[in-house]
């Protein structure tokens, strides 16, 4: 009887669990919104608390009597404006003007492209913790005929593991991808930076995606430091450790031609193509390194491109994938030195 009661309870509670649970993670949705704030000095810091979505911290210097309108990134859209709380530090005031109209989110050609982001570094248990765990295991198994004693030893082992020093936090690198789409003319380029836990985002970025398949809202903290009042600023985006983030924006610099006949983009360490030349249109072929100023190298035997790079690309188009050689485009730009730089161009050779 109790079993059936439990089953009924289980089924009855199911819809409530759905209601209690948080909504979908909103993967691949844009988490970067902008608002305008009217501030009057003196001010040193403004905090925008966005509830579960995170917060934004602006630091700068606004003198007494000075009045300005700040354009700040927030992880919250205008539809949830009720969750916004503004706190000004320094004696002045800060007042919401309004959200800026949402920019066109994901460019159409980027929507179908995959981006796994850099793989977080693997954490290690550490020798001391491993030995402690092994010792606890042996001791507990040795006391298996005295469960009470065994439980005591197990709890002690667990407690010792809690206080055992932790190995240093591994840091993740930045993965950079230049996404190109050529539709007859010169390709349109977008730069995407992906990082783990934290990312320095260009001030002109309009798109920030959370790539990790986490449940629920991922809280994001944006930090804007602006001491000279310049518009050329970057945004620090921080998420819980292990969360993979990707920000995209149109790069300020222009790139050289990247066609079958000539290579003006930069030194490419490894190149793969599909649907280009006489090679089979459905197969990826490796072409090895491609130096500046020379035509596309011939097909050579080799491995397929990384799966995350070629997944979801359109069929029937000429595609070039490449890993940029150190020192090439993307390596020398401002910000953290990337772990690797890639090029993904659709419409190559058409």
């Amino acid at each position: 009887m109790r079993f059936w009661l439990a089953l009924v309870c289980c089924l009855v509670m199911a819809p409530f669990e759905g209601a209690l649970g948080r909504g979908p993670a909103g993967l691949q949705e844009n988490a970067l919104h902008h608002l305008e704030l009217r501030v009057e000095g003196p001010l040193r810091e403004v905090q925008l608390s966005c509830g579960q979505a995170g917060n934004t911290i602006w630091r700068g210097e606004i003198l007494a009597g000075e009045s300005r309108t700040l354009r700040l990134p927030v992880p919250l859209s205008a539809t949830r404006r009720d969750e916004l709380r503004i706190h000004a530090d320094g004696g002045g005031t800060a007042e919401l003007v309004g959200w800026l109209p949402p920019v066109k989110t994901l460019p159409r050609f980027l929507q179908s492209r995959s981006l796994s982001g850099p793989v977080p570094m693997v954490r290690r248990l550490g020798w001391s913790a491993t030995l402690l765990l092994a010792a606890a295991g042996v001791a507990v198994l040795g006391l298996r005929r005295r469960p009470g004693w065994a439980l005591g030893v197990g709890c002690l082992g667990a407690l010792a593991l809690v206080f055992c020093p932790r190995p240093p936090e591994p840091g993740g690198g930045i993965l950079r991808v230049f996404e190109g789409q050529g539709d007859g003319g010169a390709p349109r380029w977008l730069r995407t930076d992906a990082g783990v836990g934290a990312l320095q985002v260009d001030g002109s970025a309009t798109l920030l995606r959370v790539l990790s398949a986490a449940r629920g809202q991922v809280p994001l903290t944006f930090t804007v430091e602006e001491f000279l009042g310049g518009e050329d600023r970057s945004i620090g985006a921080v998420a819980p450790a292990g969360t993979r983030l990707a920000a995209s924006w149109a790069p300020a610099r222009s790139f050289g031609a990247l066609t079958q006949g000539v290579q003006g983009f930069g030194p490419l360490e490894q190149v793969w193509t599909r649907g280009v030349g006489a090679a089979s249109p459905d197969l990826w072929v490796q072409r090895g390194p491609w130096a500046l100023g020379v035509p596309l190298p011939e097909v050579q035997p080799g491995l397929a491109p990384p799966g995350w790079l070629c997944w979801g690309l359109p069929q029937g188009r000429g595609i070039l994938l490449a890993r940029v050689a150190p020192g090439g485009p993307g390596w020398a730009v401002e910000g953290a030195v990337p772990e690797s730089v890639w090029v993904r161009l659709v419409g190559f050779g058409e």
């Binding site: 289980c10 954490r123 765990l133 292990g242």
Partner: protein, 184 residues
């Protein structure tokens, strides 16, 4: 005994082996993987289950060690998950031990049905959901799947609060396994 040894071997593999095997349970959710392993072993019907205290004594150090490897979750959330996992493991070990060590066929049968319906079936569905794309299933089915204790364990990351399925899973388990009327 073999359950405990298997538990230690499995936990060791999940904790010490990086790469695909270690990451099998998701990015960094070793705590979830180790909890899942001990839940399986602790509650498995049949055989000669060990007393709940002994199972917990083995599982607790493994859970704490796994918690050290999970990035990005506060001590509060980690502790809550650890306590919840330990509670479920203890409950299942107690149920399995009770069902096997008392000659009450009805109780053993009820335990086995609870095992299949409240644990294994939702868990299998959660697995399909995560890896097979059950997102298109009807909402009531998705909700039921999420009611199982294992759904979060197959997610890439742990949920960030207590408002998740394992807590609710306790309710049917308490009703089924808690020895309110049975001896032992």
């Amino acid at each position: 005994m073999w359950r405990l040894i298997l538990g230690f071997i499995g936990s060791g593999l999940l904790l010490l082996v990086p790469g695909p095997l270690g990451a099998l349970v998701g990015e960094g959710s070793r705590l979830a993987g180790v909890t899942l392993l001990w839940l399986f072993l602790a509650g498995l019907p049949g055989g000669r289950p060990a007393p709940a205290a002994l199972v917990l004594a083995c599982a607790l150090p493994c859970l704490v060690a796994a918690g050290r490897l999970d990035p990005g979750f506060s001590l509060r959330v980690e502790t809550l998950h650890l306590l919840l996992g330990a509670l479920l493991i203890g409950l299942l070990a107690h149920g399995s031990w009770g069902a096997q060590n008392h000659s009450q066929p009805d109780r053993a049968r009820r335990y086995e049905m609870a095992w299949w319906l409240c644990l294994i079936l939702p868990q299998a569905l959660a697995l399909c959901w995560t890896f097979g794309g059950l997102q298109d299933a009807p909402l009531w089915l998705q909700s039921w799947v999420r009611l199982g204790p294992f759904d979060p364990f197959f997610r890439a990351e742990l949920p960030t609060g207590l408002r998740s399925a394992p807590l609710l899973t306790l309710v049917p388990w308490l009703l089924v396994v808690w020895p309110t009327g049975d001896k032992g």
